[in-house]
């Protein structure tokens, strides 16, 4: 089966590199599925998971704030933070979720709601990815 090389890089270094059969992820304009031979494209991504289909299995990588660059032979995902499902620190993510929920429920004026909400979404995303990895 034809494959496409996928690279996921963050400022802290490369996170994932492999040849896969299909990449699917959530862009800001909706779900995107990339097969080998796709035309060159750039799209910003939502906080969410990347699903990488490889030899019948699906691997998941949690992403925060990134975008996708596609070339026929090569898909590059640039993200501010990314973790494969197996490397997620689930305790930390759960703590972050609690913290964000507390902040959101506090209903105080000095709470930066937008930031708390983003933090909550990031934490939920990590937890989802972690729990779906089987």
């Amino acid at each position: 089966m034809k494959t496409v090389n996928v690279n996921i890089v963050t400022p802290d270094g490369p996170v994932y590199e492999s040849a896969v059969e299909m990449v699917s992820t959530k862009a800001q304009s909706g779900e995107l599925g990339i097969l080998p031979g796709h035309i060159p494209m750039v799209a910003p991504l939502e906080i969410g998971a990347v699903r990488l289909k490889k030899e019948g299995r699906t691997e998941l990588v949690a992403l925060t704030g990134g975008f996708l660059e596609v070339r026929p032979e090569q898909v590059t995902i640039l993200a501010q933070a990314a973790e494969p499902a197996t490397e997620i620190d689930i305790e930390r993510a759960k703590e972050a979720r609690q913290r964000a929920e507390r902040l959101l429920q506090a209903q105080q004026d000095n709470v930066d709601f937008k930031r708390a909400e983003l933090a909550l979404r990031r934490a939920m995303n990590r937890i989802d990815v972690y729990e779906n990895k089987m």
Partner: protein, 287 residues
């Protein structure tokens, strides 16, 4: 001439100091190699983001974004990257001096600029002079991750977007080699020179539109420029500290050598004097 004991004490204390500087030199050497690794692992990200930004900037000429455009400058921001601790030779003073020179030559009043300080030395310096520090971050780890600096980079880019300032310069030590670091001034915002390298660009489809992508991409790009400078600065800091500590150790060794020489001289003089006194005493008894 100093007494024997004084000299002995100085030798001992110099030896102790040189042990410390020697240890610091080795610690900095290992931190330097890790800092270099960090900078290396950041490179793929930086290259890629640069490539995409450049190809969008050249490929979609009609796409515009506030971060790409010069606007009349009412306020300038200076991001100065220093270290938290001293004992790094001229590392901090070089950066601060060049930032101060630029500020003094460009501005006549304190209302025309603001400071973003990374590192305790810089923050204290500017705070002492009553300059307007809008944000500072201290206590960064020696190997900062992107999450550690996200706050200040996000704030710097956000404030530019909110027009709290109209230009952003950064000052940091660029790591050339273990013995040489160069103070570098870099204009981060507005991003005017993104389309510099335009060799063999891919023409992309933009999903949904070039503007929407620039919206996401440019803040990230500006933030990664700052993060890159910070990694560069950290590597320089460790290199500068290593060199400074190496010369301190060498100087201590020279000092110990010359002190040992005068110690031996003084000891010899004391012995000679004692012999002369004994000989003199014996000669006096013979008569």
């Amino acid at each position: 001439m100093a007494s024997l004991r004084d000299i002995k004490n100085r030798i001992t204390s110099t030896k102790k100091t040189s042990q410390i500087t020697k240890a610091m030199e080795m610690v900095s050497a290992s931190k330097l190699s890790r800092a270099e690794d960090n900078a290396k692992s950041f490179n793929p990200y930086m290259n890629k983001i640069q490539e995409v930004v450049a190809s969008i900037a050249t490929g979609a000429k009609d796409a515009s974004h506030p971060m790409l455009e010069n606007r009349p400058v009412k306020k300038t921001a200076y991001l100065v990257i220093t270290s938290d601790r001293g004992l790094a030779g001229a590392y901090n003073s070089n950066v601060i001096r060049s930032a101060m020179n630029a500020i003094n030559s460009r501005h006549s009043s304190k209302d025309e600029y603001v400071i973003l300080a990374i590192g305790r030395v810089g923050r204290d310096f500017f705070a002492k002079r009553g300059m307007n520090i809008i944000d500072s971050i201290i206590g960064l780890p020696d190997q900062p991750s992107f999450a550690d600096v996200k706050e200040i980079t996000g704030k710097a880019v956000g404030m530019y977007a909110d027009e709290a300032f109209d230009e952003l310069y950064m000052y940091y030590n660029h790591f050339v080699s273990a013995i040489s670091q160069e103070v570098t001034e870099k204009k981060v915002l507005p991003l005017t020179d993104v389309a510099a390298e335009t060799s063999a660009m891919t023409s992309y489809e933009f999903e949904p539109s070039p503007e929407a992508i620039l919206e996401v991409l440019l803040p990230q790009y500006a933030e990664s420029l700052i993060y890159g400078a910070l990694l560069d600065g950290k590597a320089s800091e460790h290199a500068a500290r290593m060199t400074a500590m190496k010369s301190a150790t060498d100087n201590a060794k020279d000092l110990i050598d010359s002190l040992s020489l005068s110690y031996n001289r003084a000891r010899q003089a004391a012995i000679t004097q004692e012999i002369t006194e004994i000989v003199g005493g014996a000669a006096a008894q013979e008569n």
